[in-house]
Symmetry: C2
Subunit: 243 residues, 2 copies
Amino acid sequence: MITRNPSLTEQVKANLKERILNDGFEEGRIPPEAELAAELGVSRTTVRDALGRLEHEGAISRRQGSGTFVNKPVLQIKSRLEEIWSYEQVLEDHGYTPSVDVLRVETGPADNSTAAVLDLDGDSNVLVIEKLFLEDDRPVVLTVNRIPTDIVTDAEYERHSATPVYEFLEEQCGRTLSYYLSDIVPVQLDDEQAGRLGVEQGTLAVSFDEVGYDQDNAPVVHATSYFRDDLLRFRLIRRRPGT
Amino acid sequence: MITRNPSLTEQVKANLKERILNDGFEEGRIPPEAELAAELGVSRTTVRDALGRLEHEGAISRRQGSGTFVNKPVLQIKSRLEEIWSYEQVLEDHGYTPSVDVLRVETGPADNSTAAVLDLDGDSNVLVIEKLFLEDDRPVVLTVNRIPTDIVTDAEYERHSATPVYEFLEEQCGRTLSYYLSDIVPVQLDDEQAGRLGVEQGTLAVSFDEVGYDQDNAPVVHATSYFRDDLLRFRLIRRRPGT
DNA sequence: AAGTGGTCTAGACCACTAT
DNA sequence: TAGTGGTCTAGACCACTTC
């Protein structure tokens, strides 16, 4: 059935993805683009668009002169580092029912590193939001978000404390978070962090130290996240350059 | 000047990238696609191809109905996690002169985890290659590669020990490494690792535990890498899904 | 209403890989 | 040499944002 929205390209992509996941292609070889175009009744351009998106996701590889092939090992990955946006979504993809605990919502002076990355004066205040994400009631991710008070006040946020930060900023502050730049930092959890994540003090963890930018590339939020390494391990695809 | 190779698309991309880096666009706004196409004497499709690649790199964002914009904060990143292929290249991008120390090339029985990820029998042998990457003579990255001996023997590799592993596999073994799947693991360096990286025992580090796959999606190499966190910090762009 | 990026077509030719 | 993916064109129309 041909309709608009989702686009033809997205429909073709979904069709191919389903056949890929159900092992519908012999020996992991995807038919020639011209054949797919004829079979699906769309132009080769549309097929190429859809294949390009699947390649971008790592699901397939294309080799000029040779063909298009399914990358089976890639399909088995659960938590892909490149695809994180909401932590609740991550935990859901991971196969569990996520929930959120709001531990702290309060206003205070920005510390030096936060003031630096958010371009604030030394005496500015920030709203600090601390949350714990759980999967099936086990704590997995601890996050601390810091947002300048000239963007939002604690009274405003407390009415929406269960809302993800990026969603709140978009709907209540007119600041669409467009991307985060994240540093990956190894840490040993201190007493308080370890307590909240339910592990021993000194446990090794990966943390993200990151800044969120809005649609105008202005820094809006400074976030730090700590992960239970034993419950959630992030994976990454490293590909040849120019792919 | 219009020539083939590099493709028109790549030439347009390079042209735009140069103007982006030299702040050649007012207020970070890139001209409309139709205008660029007319100015450069190419079709709008070619311009869109080039813009799509820049968007994929994170350098720009496109918003339907609104325009195309430069993501200035992204341009300042040195070591991007998504773009790692060769560690020598990483160190070079990082602004230093890289060099390599081959610490060990020897054959031995595969340990359990290596046998598991490479699909080997319990009694198989692997070639173990341990290397240290330095920038301006400071050790920064320590890697251990394990390759099944039915693919390569130590005698073969020793003649090429300065060659990157992925290059050796391609040129000498006919196995093109197409991608790695990497786990990100926080560790405390043991005595030997710390000594080689020139830090104290117990220092925190990020490590990659990864498997390299060839053009037929067969596992070919099991690698573990340790990074001097104080000298090289990987950064990551987290974007909204569907971008 | 005007202007922007997004989708889609049909067709031509090129570059590379297999055999 | 046949078959594959890669590049490129010209043109039409749609969806969304901005004014």
